[in-house]
């Protein structure tokens, strides 16, 4: 019996291992553009989790864990870094909560609210502002029931009924108004004594009570993320404040308030802009979307774009969202226009890998950029995002631009390239996300194979290059070593890979000759001392090989992959780092192709595991195929329609820092 039980336990593990589903480990890095989605509809459809997993923060109604628990968990599974915030109103309760399933959090909340906690008129009647929503009395003059006011109650409820579910990372406190009279009017009776309170007393009491409410939510839940809506008055208590409908009511003051809120927020700071199409279904209002997005970028806030306060239930995605421009570098600054009184101007900010500019004025402005930047290669507004390399841009009125820093050789880390080559940039699907560039390091001979990586793990880049059979290692700490891993008789090209092959701190170097001799894999330390070597193909094969190293099953241990040189079939073999064959070998292309195959490795789909990227050999149509560690073909694309004389030698490096490596393929510039 115990064996049956054990097998029942183990079976799902094997099934899960055999059919891995994709995850987006690259998502949720909370790097610009930082995205928040207020997905506040009643339903999470089956295809929504995969879309929502692309955001950094997703706000869902607290009842969604009751209505669609599997779909909420699916978001988290697809993107373990996503922050899920539960929607809880700080001062309203929907009538629908009272009709909900008794076990749902919303119904539990409603069932525990005594009549005395509702905001009331002097005649005792409840008050609504949003249709179907009763306003709660968050003031400090609210009657106590059982020794508690509404602002005492909510923090404990969030702790006991929401955070204990184990899926939520925090809460979105909606309707945290700064004053109550603009919402409920002046005829309100906070202490239910039958007499209306004056406006100033009502607003002061409300502010004090709401401050206490948020403070107690924090006190009851010290580690959660809290973002409030409707007022920046509480930004010193929360992680963020939402500026909804930005910039419909003007740019200057809300933008100043946003920056002020971010300055006061508790870390991690998540104040956000919600720009929307005012409850019209206009996802293609790209200018309006950019206007809000670039404002958020310049303030270093989070961004949400949807249909509006009655349409916070969208998964609209934009080219700009894919532009990973990294953390901000320096402060936002006005580059054109008035600099005082929060009047609309042209604001800009540099980022580690890009630049954002927003023109809040009513006329187009030409801006000189602090260097060479590249417009996005968009698929939506292709006139704006046309891929041009620019040093100046003209930004239309009430519009913005997201630019990426022009790639150069400094971004090519962890991948081998031929020094001086012209590298074209491809993604997993064969799209060209940015312009090609010359990869030329002045400190390395032209034509040498170069690898830049931190081999000795001292947080300084080391440069390894090979030419004419000689390998040179130049460490960031000044150390320099030269050696010939294949002896003095070999003067050909050497392929280089670097990675952890044992349990030491420093990485090791892996070499293969690329032509003219046996396909020997040689593993050395940085000084060239041979640690291990083996033949990746039979000794009779003298065509050399290419080699790469990666973690193809995301277990933290590296594997070595080889592809034979010219004259071999496209026969890919994988090894553990101690030379033992790892999982089955496979033919990346038709077995009859005799140009060999060129391998590289990297995480091109952002799932946390490296993929094997295989370029075709000479005399065949130039193609790229991407395989996972189980030799499963993930994608393929061709680079031409006529046979290539030289074949395709891919390099894989994350040059834009978005967590998904790009495929770099040498091409002819002229």
């Amino acid at each position: 019996m115990w064996r049956r039980r054990l097998s029942l336990l183990i079976l799902p593990i094997f099934i899960a291992a055999a059919f891995p589903t994709p995850t987006f480990a690259a998502r949720g890095k909370h790097e610009s553009p930082k995205l928040i989605n207020f997905f506040l509809g009643y339903e999470i459809k089956p295809d929504d989790p995969a879309k929502l997993a692309q955001w950094d923060i997703v706000v869902l109604d607290m009842d969604q864990t009751f209505q669609f628990p599997d779909r909420v968990r699916e978001i988290k599974r697809l993107n373990p870094n996503v922050q899920l915030l539960a929607y809880v109103s700080a001062s309203e309760v929907s009538e629908a909560r009272f009709r909900g399933h008794p076990s749902s959090p919303g119904a539990k909340l409603a069932s525990r609210i005594p009549e005395a906690w509702f905001l009331a008129r002097p005649d005792g009647s409840r008050i609504q502002w949003w249709a179907g929503n009763w306003i709660m009395n968050a003031s400090d003059r609210s009657p106590s029931v059982g020794g508690m006011q509404w602002n005492d109650f909510l923090g404990g409820f969030i702790r006991d009924e929401i955070m204990t579910q184990g899926i939520w990372d925090g809460v979105f406190l909606d309707a945290a108004y700064g004053e109550i009279t603009p919402v409920a009017g002046t005829n309100i009776d906070l202490d239910r004594n039958g007499i209306a309170d004056t406006a100033s007393v009502a607003d002061q009491s409300w502010r004090a009570g709401m401050t206490e409410l948020i403070r107690k939510v924090r006190e009851a839940n010290p580690d959660i993320w809290i973002i409030n809506n409707s007022s920046a008055a509480y930004s010193h208590l929360t992680n963020g404040t939402l500026f909804e409908n930005f910039p419909r009511d003007g740019f200057g003051w809300p933008f100043a308030e946003l920056r002020g809120a971010l300055a006061k927020n508790v870390s991690p700071k998540i104040s956000a802009i919600n720009t929307n199409t005012n409850n019209q279904e206009r996802p293609d209002d790209y200018r309006w979307m950019r206007y809000g997005l670039t404002s958020a970028l310049i303030a270093d806030g989070y961004y949400s774009f949807d249909a509006g306060d009655a349409g916070h239930h969208r998964t609209w995605w934009y080219d700009e969202y894919d532009a990973s421009i990294g953390p901000p570098r320096g402060q936002p600054r006005i580059v054109e226009g008035p600099t005082t009184n929060n009047r609309p101007a042209v604001w800009a900010r540099e980022f580690a890998r890009g630049y954002a500019v927003v023109n809040a004025t009513k006329r187009a402005e030409e801006i000189t950029l602090p260097g060479e930047f590249e417009k996005l290669r968009g698929t939506q507004d292709v006139l704006t995002n046309n891929g041009a390399i620019v040093t100046k841009v003209t930004v239309p009125a009430e519009d913005g631009l997201v630019l990426i820093r022009r790639s150069d050789v400094a971004e090519v880390r962890g991948a081998v390239f031929r020094n001086g080559s012209f590298l074209q940039v491809f993604d997993l699907q064969g799209r060209r996300p940015q312009n090609a560039f010359f990869a030329n390091r002045d400190d390395v001979p032209g034509g040498a194979n170069v690898l830049v990586s931190d081999i000795d793990r001292d947080n300084r880049d080391d440069v390894i290059f090979s030419q004419n059979g000689l390998v040179t290692v130049r460490l960031g700490n000044g150390g320099r070593y030269t050696f010939r891993p294949f002896g003095t008789g070999y003067r050909g090209d050497i392929e280089i890979a670097a990675g952890q092959t044992d349990r030491s701190t420093a990485w090791e170097l892996v070499f293969t000759p690329t032509a003219g001799r046996e396909a020997t894999v040689v593993v050395t330390d940085v000084r060239g001392r041979v640690l291990r070597s083996w033949l990746s193909y039979r000794a009779e094969f003298k065509g050399g090989a290419t080699v790469a190293i990666g973690d193809f099953n995301a277990d933290g241990l590296r594997e070595i992959v080889t592809g034979p040189g010219n004259g071999g079939g496209p026969h890919i073999r994988t090894f553990k780092t101690d030379s033992v064959p790892w999982r089955g070998a496979f033919f990346a292309y038709d077995a009859s192709e005799s140009g060999g195959a060129r391998v590289s490795a990297g995480d091109v789909n952002g799932d946390g595991a490296d993929e094997i990227v295989v370029g075709s050999g000479p005399r065949s149509i130039p193609r790229i195929r991407v395989y996972d560690g189980n030799a499963r073909l993930l994608s393929e694309f061709s680079l031409g329609s006529v046979a290539s004389a030289d074949g395709v030698t891919p390099a894989v490096a994350d040059i834009d820092g978005d967590g998904k490596a790009e495929i770099l393929i040498p091409g002819q510039p002229f």
């Binding site: 060479e372 891929g387 041009a388 390399i389 620019v390 040093t391 031929r418 020094n419 001086g420 080559s421 012209f422 074209q424 060209r432 312009n435 090609a436 560039f437 010359f438 990869a439 030329n440 001979p445 032209g446 034509g447 040498a448 030419q467 193909y537 039979r538 009779e540 094969f541 003298k542 065509g543 034979p564 010219n566 004259g567 071999g568 079939g569 026969h571 064959p581 089955g584 070998a585 496979f586 033919f587 077995a591 009859s592 005799s594 140009g595 000479p618 005399r619 091409g667 002819q668 510039p669 002229f670």
Partner: protein, 535 residues
């Protein structure tokens, strides 16, 4: 004894068979033990200090020897049951000797039982090179694992067979946990990766003429250790055999064969001790030149070949030049009587050192060959320069306004290309004179090594020594131009001139090549051309 009697009494009841068997066996046993006791008393007892120990040891040794003999007899006589329940199919494409060929053996379990520990042993013809295998062939066999009924497993290998054309046998041994089965199948080698043929098949040859033969590696792998033999009295390159240490993929060599007086040329090409190709040509030996053509071949380099022809009568010329794009690099020309110069466009070539023209006339019995001529191949030496704002792929590499605007900087890239060379050049330098107002930005790319340096108004690409180079050499650098008001509506010049200089090592002569100016109209830039007029 009493007990034995009782047993005998009990055994006497029934058939009595037990009694007879007991008697027979005990009688033999008693005889053996009696003999052993006798041997002990006569050969051991009193002879040795530890007689019993010696006797026991000898008995044990005798017993062990008897056991081993018995076991060997058993193993020799027991024939394992033949293995059943497998089907093996060999899938082969057409096979050429010396060329890589992908073979696939498909093993299918045709019976109803699972087969465990299945291993396939390939037995290739002698001299076969195994280039790749999947699953790996370790210790001579490919491990296929456990196969279910109906399941098929494949063992794929890529091999090179060094066998003459004809049938070749592939033998297999298939093993599983139960036993082994062997099999054999024949396939035909239909061709050779090493091609050997005359440029022009001769029916008759003038005495003392040489017949050019082509030796070509038709495979994607180098062929090593080739020996080409001519059977006496024919000779090849005036020798009886020529050894070629290595023939690169798709490389071909032209060998001159001197025919013999026996009206037959017999040639063989061998690798790894096996004749892969045999050529046998019969011809008539002519005393007088049947063609009547004299040829003067110029040294050929660059993109053209040229020669002069003096023909007494109409004839055909077979021109072999490695840079000809015709099938087999051979162009056949029909010429009329008289004198003329012939020029043909060719691609620059790299490895070969000579080219040939074979004059012949075609008669009813076949081709009559005259005296062929040999020309030298020199290296081409040309330099090309161009400017681009967009790469061939359409990627933007330049920056700034295009068309250029007065007072604003526009950057473009200049590409220099030294054409492929066929012999070594040394001291190669390329001097680029930039136009006034044009400056280098410091960005460059040198994928083939070397360096840039700047001298008085010029940029110098120091290439150094260039061995015969099939790809040519390239270098790229970025220039910047900020047009002035005087250049408005003009197309600015970027590069005034380019001069390349080198020493041709083979002929010990200085070579020069020049290229004219390059302007902002970017004539070779498909995406940015004709936009050079300053606004």
């Amino acid at each position: 004894m009493t007990k034995n009697k009782e047993q005998r009494a009990k055994g006497s009841s029934g058939t009595g068979l037990a009694e007879h068997a007991s008697t027979a066996s005990f009688t033999t046993s008693r005889a053996v033990t009696s003999h052993l006791r006798h041997r002990y008393r006569t050969r051991y007892h009193g002879q040795y200090q530890y007689a019993r120990m010696f006797f026991a040891f000898d008995l044990a040794l005798l017993g062990l020897a008897t056991f081993l003999v018995g076991m060997n007899v058993y193993l020799f006589t027991v024939i394992p049951a033949p293995l059943k329940g497998f089907r093996l199919d060999l899938v082969t494409p057409s096979i050429h000797s010396a060329a890589p060929v992908a073979l696939e053996a498909r093993v299918t379990v045709s019976g109803n039982e699972e087969k465990r520990e299945v291993r396939l042993v390939w037995e290739f013809p002698p001299g076969t090179e195994i280039l790749q295998s999947e699953p790996p062939i370790g210790q001579g066999n490919a491990y296929l694992g456990t196969l279910e009924p109906g399941e098929t497993a494949s063992s794929r290998v890529v091999v090179r067979l060094f066998q003459p054309q004809g049938d070749v046998s592939f033998r297999f041994r298939l093993r599983d946990a139960e036993g082994e089965i062997t099999g054999e199948t024949d396939r035909r080698i239909t061709g050779s990766g090493l091609r050997f043929e005359p440029l022009v098949s001769p029916a008759s040859v003038v005495r003392d003429a040489a017949v050019p033969y082509r030796l070509r590696n038709d495979t994607a792998l180098p062929l090593e250790g080739i020996t080409v033999r001519a059977v006496r009295p024919s000779s090849i390159e005036r020798l009886t055999e020529v050894r070629i240490s290595r023939l690169e993929p798709f490389e071909e060599r032209i060998l001159s064969v001197q025919p013999s007086a026996t009206s037959e040329i017999v040639l063989t090409a061998e690798m790894q001790g096996r004749d892969l190709v045999e050529r046998r040509e019969s011809y008539a030996l002519l005393q007088a030149d049947p063609v009547g053509v004299r040829l003067l071949l110029d040294p050929s380099g660059g993109n053209e070949l040229s020669f002069r022809v003096f023909a007494d009568r109409a004839a055909s010329l077979a021109v072999w030049h490695p840079g000809l794009s015709d099938e087999g690099h051979v162009r056949t020309l029909e010429i009329e009587p008289g004198e003329r110069e012939i020029r043909l466009p060719v691609q620059p070539t790299t490895r070969e050192t000579s080219w040939f023209v074979v004059p012949f006339v075609t008669r009813a019995e076949g081709n009559a060959l005259g005296t062929s001529a040999v020309g030298a191949l020199t290296t081409p030496f040309t330099i090309h320069a161009s400017a681009r704002y967009f790469a061939v792929s359409g990627d933007q590499i330049g920056i700034g306004p295009l068309p250029p605007r007065v007072g604003e900087s526009t950057k473009v890239w200049i590409g220099l290309k030294l054409a492929p060379t066929t012999s070594e050049l040394s001291d190669v330098r390329v001097r680029v004179v930039l136009a006034s107002g044009v400056g280098v930005t410091g960005r460059d790319a040198l994928p083939d090594g070397e360096s840039f340096s700047q001298t008085e108004g010029a940029l110098v690409w120091n290439v150094g020594t260039v061995p015969a180079d099939p790809d040519g050499r390239s270098a790229f650098f970025e220039v910047e131009l900020t047009p002035t008001d005087t250049q408005r509506d003009q197309v600015p010049v970027l590069v005034e001139s380019v001069l390349a200089e080198a020493l041709d090592v083979r002929i010990d002569t200085r070579r020069e090549a020049t290229f004219g100016s390059v302007d902002m109209n970017l004539s070779e830039d498909e995406f940015g051309k004709n936009l050079g007029r300053v606004k």
